[in-house]
Amino acid sequence: MTTKKEPIWIARDLAKCSGCRKCEIACSLFHENRIWPEASRIRVFMLIPGVDFPHFCAQCEDYPCVEACPVDALSVDSKTGAVLVDKEKCTGCAQCIDACPGRVPHMHPKEKIILICNLCDGDPQCVKVCQEGAWNVLKTVSRKNYAYKLYARTPDEITRDLAVKIYGEIGKDFI
């Protein structure tokens, strides 16, 4: 665990995810004051039962989404390292989705703005509930590594990998 003063990263151990979706609940309560799974910045996918995992921003070191934004609506928070969305500027053009190697950003279901994890200004609520319940899928660490971008994978790719890890060879049959 880290204090809030330095750039952080949410380390993730996806295969451990219980699929309880408490991260979605915590995220949407914090940002929307509603329980709203589709407006959560972290979303649990379960394309195969038992293969549940949270899908959220990997905070790539070169921030391809920020680069791709045609209206400068995205920026990097110098304090936390998070990607920030300027609601006023964002037009919901979806170019950041295509720029993201993991197609992580998604549209707000009601407003025409993109949703990307902002690390809750350094105190991620999803990590809190995951730790409270001792599932420990998510953990806040200080931002040191350069391999983070590798975690930006599409839900389908992660599913394929985890399915085989969890169910072995027959995991492929369930896709």
Partner: protein
């Protein structure tokens, strides 16, 4: 409009493909809340006057999928499936865990009312207010895993093509049936997520009779607005903290009970309840944990318990079998009840039962019944289509489960469930076989016996329940006791998982109800008025019954005769249910809930509860 409700229900007539939105008055929602309570009300209003003639497996039956105001808020999301039950001919509120109720509420609906019958196999696809009836010809006949894979892929592709700029689409939540439901097997389930099932009631058969293979729903809105979000957040945290403290259910789910309920409380079905005690350490939870659990915590929306554990057999003859835990009921009914004490064989059978869309409790019970008839020479190898149905032979039971799911040979009779099978086979064999049928009102009894007196159900629990053998809805006194059927009606009407109420003070659920809806509800008001009203309606519909069977309380408000046989083994050897004591307790229960000496709700109690129409209809039973 009351807080905590999406405010509308989806009503789909499969005969005409007519789709509309239905609303209920606030007064109805205040009285019946949702889920099981509302199901009783809807069914009474729409079918009550001609209930006895409604065949549960004909188009006139109504199939309900109902959430409650607490769905998604009280930790542990569920949905309540109901209708006229093809098992009891009454109403069973049968809940199944998963995200379906949450997605449905996020799509703007509190429930789905399905009428009629489609000509060809279909599934419903709901994306917010877009609702369509789609062809399911390609998934008809497919097992659970293939159905889930094919429809998940198809629905995600639809979403992607229709909303290409949304980003990646999560899977919609899905309820579906397997081959057993398609073949109108009365022990078929409405299932979710491979292993989750609404089993009691047999609503998989109702779904099959309507040729409705599945419902997939994706809702992009928030859960309904609540009266006091700060309070809701506090209560959610409160329930979670109590659960974390408890630890037991988190660690093992109910998986420790396959050994414990046999060895300690001596109340586990063994060889069709001929015994209830075993001390077979080969069936220990550590064996399941160490050999099969590939995911130690698996759960559903908002659940702090995550009591499920994904299990997979990785070597040997049953390699590739996958299920959860198995939980206690599946361990018991597809284990010791069939003379099976080998964990591998248990996981294999549970996995198969999931794939076929069968209920492990009801089907494990009817297979145990068949095996006892084989043991006694009443059913022969020829009757069983060449099967040697010996206790402990997992592959023979697997073959029998397939016969049941596809209604082949003897399977066609056993597919009627234990009670009806006992009548039908008894007629063929010219013998009274009901003494081997361990059920109540057509519903096989959950895997918690009453003879030792050491388990939670009491001697009237099943005999007086309005949901028969349902171990999650047992009758008992006092009426406002945590384990009484009236408190279970709250769980099933608020619609959340009752496992997250263990270790949580029983009033927390009413505080939750107030924080969500803004309406005050006391335990007393619930147990002595509102829930009692639901209970009377369920009782009335159960006694009206029909068309193939009717229950006479004098005969059928009783335990299966097996429970009057002394336990033959174990620390409580010789113990049994005392008939005089049972009659006394039953009388006390009748008096407490206001049923006359014939077991029919009295005019007095019905009128006090404002159920004058029920009173008029029940005149013919008095």
């Amino acid at each position: 409009m009351i807080f905590g409700y999406a405010g509308k229900f989806l009503e789909v007539d499969l005969s005409t493909e007519d789709i509309k939105e239905t609303r209920f008055d606030d007064d109805v929602l205040k009285e019946y809340i949702g889920g099981r309570g509302l199901a009783a009300k809807i069914l009474w209003n729409r079918l009550g006057s001609r209930w006895e003639t409604v065949d549960p497996l004909e188009p006139e039956n109504i199939l309900l999928f109902l959430t409650g105001p607490l769905t998604g808020f009280f930790p542990g999301g569920r949905i309540c499936v109901s209708g006229k039950s093809p098992q009891s001919n009454g109403v069973v509120g049968s809940t199944v865990a998963g995200e379906f109720g949450i997605e449905l509420r996020c799509a703007g609906y509190d429930g789905i009312i399905v009428l009629g019958e489609s000509e060809k196999p279909v599934y419903l696809f709901i994306k917010d207010s877009d609702v369509e009836v789609r062809d399911a010809g390609h998934v008809w006949g497919k097992d659970a895993k293939k159905t889930v894979a094919m429809l998940t892929k198809e629905c995600r592709e639809l979403l992607k093509s229709r909303f290409p700029r949304y980003g990646e689409w999560k899977e919609p939540a899905m309820l579906y049936i397997g081959p057993a439901g398609e073949n109108k097997v009365r022990t078929a389930v409405v299932a979710a997520k491979w292993t989750h099932a609404a089993g009691y009631g047999g609503y998989g058969a109702v779904m099959g009779s309507k040729k409705l293979k599945a419902i997939a729903v994706k809702g992009t809105g928030p859960l309904p607005e609540v009266a006091d979000m700060e309070k809701v957040k506090k209560l959610m945290q409160r329930v979670c903290e109590d659960v974390y403290e408890e630890e037991l259910w988190r660690r093992w789910g109910t998986g420790a009970a396959g050994y414990e309920v046999g060895a300690k409380t001596s109340s586990e079905p063994i060889r069709n309840w001929q015994e209830e005690w075993h001390d077979d350490k080969s069936f220990g939870v550590d064996k399941f944990e160490n050999r099969f659990w590939i995911k130690p915590y698996w759960g559903d929306f908002g659940c702090p318990t995550t009591c499920l554990k994904v299990a997979m057999v990785k070597d040997g003859k049953f390699k590739g079998a996958i299920t959860d835990n198995p939980d206690y009921e599946m361990q018991a009914y597809l284990g010791p009840n069939l003379g099976i004490f080998t964990p591998e064989e248990n996981v294999f059978l549970v996995s198969l039962i999931d794939d076929l869309g069968l209920c492990g409790i009801q089907t494990g019970n009817v297979m145990g019944f068949a095996a006892e008839l084989f043991q006694r020479g009443i059913l022969t190898r020829e009757d069983l289509g060449g099967l040697e149905l010996k206790w402990g032979d997992a592959e023979a039971f697997a073959a029998l489960a397939k016969k049941i799911a596809f209604r082949e040979g003897i399977g066609d009779l056993l597919a009627e469930g234990t009670y009806r099978a006992a009548l039908k086979i008894g007629k063929e064999k010219n013998a009274d076989l009901l003494s081997y049928a361990v059920q109540s009102k057509g519903v096989s009894i959950g895997a918690h016996g009453i003879r030792s007196g050491k388990d939670y159900p009491k001697i009237i629990s099943y005999a007086c329940s309005v949901q028969g053998g349902d171990h999650t809805s047992t009758a008992g006194l006092p009426l406002d006791w945590g384990g009484s059927e009236l408190m279970e009606i709250f769980n099933d009407s608020g619609v959340y998982c009752n496992f997250n109420t263990f270790g949580v003070p029983r009033n927390v659920r009413f505080q939750f109800y107030k924080a969500v809806t803004g309406l005050k509800l006391t335990r007393k008001e619930w147990c002595y008025e509102k829930a009692l009203r639901v209970l009377q309606m369920q009782r009335a519909l159960l006694l009206l019954g029909g068309p193939d069977l009717k229950w006479n309380p004098k005969i059928h408000d009783d335990n299966p005769s097996r429970f009057y046989e002394p336990l033959p083994s174990g620390p409580y050897k010789g113990k049994t249910v005392n008939r005089a004591r049972f009659q006394k307790k039953k009388k006390e229960y009748y008096e407490a809930v206001g049923w006359d000496e014939n077991g029919v709700p009295s005019s007095e109690v019905l009128r006090r509860l404002g159920l004058d129409d029920v009173d008029r209809t029940l005149k013919k039973l008095r």
